[in-house]
Symmetry: C2
């Protein structure tokens, strides 16, 4: 295994770029091959079996790029597919759930944690199971928020409609007096200010994207698999972006949220993998 | 060609059931094979090339069921793919655009028509081109309404949030003094009361699902390809439903909007076609 090989990162679309961005910040020497499944997004409303099949195809694609590790930067795919695909892959593979759960367990004082995410993520119960395994006795309350992703994609980050929808979705969690809320979908950190205002200052918001990059850093160090420093790669050599559709739209969005301009995004037919 | 063969109807998901329902009402002797691409929905935010590829796969699947004609019951797929796939298919194939455009041209008095639909449908310009070909001089104004489908799927058919979003989306069309509005996405008829209230009583709302069934009836008659009456088929023989994911959820939804209970929906892997 080549320690200078890239890390494979994938998501159903652009959301996982928030995870890629954290990896770029926290592990600036690492190379990344990112795949966004823009032809088949979203994953949040689809079945376990389908999300597993899509994830397996993407992992086969990422293996053709000789990645040294894989990060599933999508809460739904992490919830449904991580345990399944891990059995079949001989390189380290992590999702966003474990890191998010660990941070939530560390943050809660009253033992009441809320999870918001897609229908798939919440229905899977993976966050709740993971948290209860880490700390038995913690109470976990899940709430699916299917309108949040469309609202973010429509650009309504600071808007009365988003406030109203957030107020409806979160009321059931406020009634449970949670003191920690996991933003269990990669789009949700973009709604942080709305969510913070709705929940109130006493509720800690956990962003699994940040925590996942921390976990990846620890993992690579413990395996002595960090990239060598000072390789002087060009941006195109260091960070590669692939999608299954809408390459130009993806490229523009990636440029808007990543620290450097993304010069190229390549479209592939993921169904062939 | 067997005149008692079924009609193939497809959509990205459940929306096309509104077209299937109209066919059941207006052509009660006809058999239907319906396919909903629930693993890859929605189509409205995806590219022309991808929507064409998905449509070609679905048509190959429907051909294995020996359909005598195909209805593309999805505005986005009709906009992007109809002309392309028609070249390669030797059976009649119609979309929803032509029927919707014809009804709009018939309804307008002041020659100002509005079209609402997905980003793909509006960006394609297919409705506008079709209408202008039918009646040069008519002014056509398109407006993409990407939040309408998620709002319908969240069940907010009669809700202040939907009113607010409708008011924002439609204001640009009201300013143009349109007198006819095409509901250019199969989900939108479910918002008819909100749309009617927002636009006012003087604006005619056109539902392409209804018009498409009228066109299909004319087409089958003119080809002398109607099913024979009185075949006494069971519901399962008469109407067959296939999806690429979430078969049970689809079946329950289909039962809720079709005149009879749907007893079975079969999941297939559309990527193999």
């Amino acid at each position: 295994m080549d320690k200078n090989a890239p890390i494979g990162v994938f998501d159903s679309g652009v959301g996982g770029l928030t995870v890629a961005r954290e990896i770029m910040r926290q592990l600036p020497e690492e190379r990344i091959v990112y795949f966004g499944d823009t032809a088949r997004l979203p994953y949040g409303s689809k079945s376990r079996r389908t999300v597993i099949r899509f994830s397996e195809q993407i992992i086969r694609f990422l293996r053709t790029k000789d990645v040294k590790a894989i990060v599933i930067a999508c809460n739904t795919a992490s919830s449904f597919a991580l345990e399944e695909v891990r059995k079949e892959v001989d390189i380290p593979i992590i999702g966003v759930i474990n890191a998010g759960a660990r941070a939530a367990v560390g943050a809660t004082k009253n033992g009441k944690i809320g999870i918001i995410g897609t229908e798939g993520t919440i229905a899977s119960g993976t966050y709740a199971d993971t948290i209860r395994n880490m700390k038995p006795g913690v109470e976990v309350f899940g709430k699916a928020c299917p309108l949040f992703v469309p609202l973010v994609e429509e650009g309504l980050l600071h808007d009365t409609v988003t406030d109203e929808i957030a107020s409806r979705y979160l009321s059931v969690l406020k009634e449970k007096y949670i003191d920690t809320l996991v933003l269990g979908c990669t789009h949700y950190p973009l709604l942080r200010s709305t969510l913070a205002r709705t929940m109130g200052a006493d509720v800690a918001l956990v962003n699994p994207a940040y925590e996942t990059a921390v976990q990846l850093k620890t993992l690579l160090r413990s395996m002595e698999m960090n990239c060598d420093a000072g390789q002087n790669l060009s941006q195109g050599e260091k960070y590669q972006f692939f999608v299954s559709d809408m390459a130009e739209k993806f490229r523009a969005f990636a440029t808007s949220i990543l620290p450097e301009e993304v010069k190229e995004t390549i479209q592939i037919n993921i169904e062939e993998y």
